[in-house]
Symmetry: none
Subunit: 125 residues, 2 copies
């Protein structure tokens, strides 16, 4: 079976829901897939849902920051949603502030954030 993380499309946004253990190859595959899909679809937003992650380490923290940086390079804004309180605390303790990665509490709020962004950038909904 494949351990690839699926990339779903909702309107102009790509949604990635992290539910498996993030081993190196899984992360590399995900970044490849996501970059391909951003270019193929012209999506201008990426939502990474980490509700299922109960703990993070510096590897996961870097993965989130890197994935956001890759997406930004392809002109898509990233929002991380579903972060648990303990995860936020660990990230700060690790000295990872996820610079440049925006967060929202829920998928709904994340999508609304990207929607507002798009409206602000393009002047139309």
């Amino acid at each position: 079976m494949s351990d690839r993380v699926p990339v779903l499309k909702i309107g102009q946004v790509l949604l990635v829901s992290i539910q498996v253990d993030l081993e190196d190859q899984v992360v590399l595959d995900l970044q490849d897939d996501l970059a391909e899909r951003i270019v193929a679809t012209g999506a201008n937003g990426v939502v990474i849902d980490i509700t299922a992650l109960e703990i993070v380490d510096s590897f996961v923290g870097r993965m989130l920051a890197n994935t956001a940086a890759i997406s930004r390079m392809l002109d898509a804004e990233t929002v991380v949603v579903g972060m648990r309180p303990a995860v936020a605390i660990t990230l700060v303790e690790l000295g990872l502030s996820l610079g440049g990665v925006r967060t929202a509490l829920t998928l709904e709020k994340g999508l609304a954030l990207l929607e507002r962004d798009r409206t602000a950038r393009t002047g139309r909904p």
Copy 2:
């Protein structure tokens, strides 16, 4: 008796008033409580009132910066209010500029600042 610092809710804002000596465990408990409450309530702002603090050291300075970073990770903006002149001077002397932490002179001004922020971000009050 518990030495936990209470976290109060005013509309969309959580209010923390520091009135006890900040020992390590108190700070850790406060960060836990605050992170939990941000996620549970969906609050988008945090006000930390330090009127009662007559002196600060680098431990307190780092606590303020870390608490703000954790809140930001959970999509809530932090404002520190009630800073005494001597405290501001000490923080600068310690080389702690509280990067990324906003300040306001009074609780009222802090709440108004968060309110303006929210209006700017969401386009509605």
